[in-house]
Symmetry: D2
Subunit: 147 residues, 4 copies
Amino acid sequence: MKPEKQMTKKLEPHHFRMRTYYADTDAAGAIFHTRYLEFCERARWELFVDRGVDLRDFTRQGNHFAITRVAANFHQLGRLGEELQIETDLLSCRRASLTFKQSIYGIRPEEDKRLLCEAEFKIAYLNDKLKPQRMPQAITEVLQTTG
Amino acid sequence: MKPEKQMTKKLEPHHFRMRTYYADTDAAGAIFHTRYLEFCERARWELFVDRGVDLRDFTRQGNHFAITRVAANFHQLGRLGEELQIETDLLSCRRASLTFKQSIYGIRPEEDKRLLCEAEFKIAYLNDKLKPQRMPQAITEVLQTTG
Amino acid sequence: MKPEKQMTKKLEPHHFRMRTYYADTDAAGAIFHTRYLEFCERARWELFVDRGVDLRDFTRQGNHFAITRVAANFHQLGRLGEELQIETDLLSCRRASLTFKQSIYGIRPEEDKRLLCEAEFKIAYLNDKLKPQRMPQAITEVLQTTG
Amino acid sequence: MKPEKQMTKKLEPHHFRMRTYYADTDAAGAIFHTRYLEFCERARWELFVDRGVDLRDFTRQGNHFAITRVAANFHQLGRLGEELQIETDLLSCRRASLTFKQSIYGIRPEEDKRLLCEAEFKIAYLNDKLKPQRMPQAITEVLQTTG
């Protein structure tokens, strides 16, 4: 009976702050939808940096991480110069894949943050023949301990 | 009993050809995942051009089309310099939204094309107050007739 | 005789830190050249934020800032996951244009930083008829005082 | 005395057509400046395709082409959905570098094309130790014969 241990094994959501610029916008006057997915990549990378993992250590000799699935809902339009907070949660950690849920909020001084986008990313770890292989232990370990 | 009419109302899939370049790739040596979603925007735009609709006619006075949902599966890695074919189908056409399914294939001379990415896009038509409004009739009409 | 006043009018170089991610790289394994120019936009925007200027205040009613010239030299290849420092200097401040010089360095712990890119950007302020107009005083003032 | 031969050795300008989409625009309502430089990469790649050269043949074993200098003037603002024509000229062809001049025009039915951007790109050919090496003969040959 280890309910407490289970709880401590839950990943604390990771938070990443950034701002949007003209390069992120489009002629409709808002953030272009694919840019949110790029922002999510930044947040996932920073999650690993903050936990002491350098993802480049796992991309030698043709090994690499590949996004195999994205599902994103865009709730409100993000704006030029808006400060964003990205919350990253681990949804599942399987033998050869990770699934993250990421929520992007617009931060407004003196007002509630507003939800702009929620996205899920499934990520596989491939060898140099593009075959899925076991996720590196160093990766799964930092994801299964609290921040 | 109008089965024939129904059939003629089915959108013929639209095909768009393009090539990838360095700007579309990443350090893993393949096409960066968000780029496929940009390619899909190109294909949807060209679908309307080919059917005589200029989408800019519907984006005056603050009206615009907004992507509200994306779901994409990435099956194989696309490569630098690869010729792509994007097949665009209409999945549904509702009062205030359209849903497209788009499949991206890598074209190989003398070999079968290979499926790189399948993606669905839900698109809403918003007014200048960001409220959903009825999709313009000119848009829905060209989608419901054969090519 | 106001040499001291002249000196205090020199802009202190502004420094901005960021990291590169897969989205910034290409299949040659390095940072794609146009991405450096996007990074420079981020650094210029943050310069104004740090000095209390919100550039969005000057882009209402069709007014906007337009890049009219870029000249960039790429000295060394930037890498995935590299931490960058962007140094931004004002080269000239004319009636209807600003010219910035920006240097992008790769930061290496326990080693000298390495120069990746030097770029100059000339920026005009246009009205809603796309005619150059006088740069807003709030902009020029913060550029001509020390940080 | 071979003036005629000299003339026939001049590269015929190469022309490439494309259209802009939302992904290419920014919140100022026009094409984002770095996108023109991406468009130029497309046009250079297509120049070689049209002359029977596959640039990927020269990027094995760590060899690659690197942009070492860009200088661009932005004359008019390009627009969403605008059809562009990119004219590519060879300015110089040295032992270890090429310099191209590229002009981007907006095409308007029944009106003169308008010049949006002129850019020069200097490109080096690097070996796997990032040292400049002799430009491949297949590259220089197709550049020095007429189209």
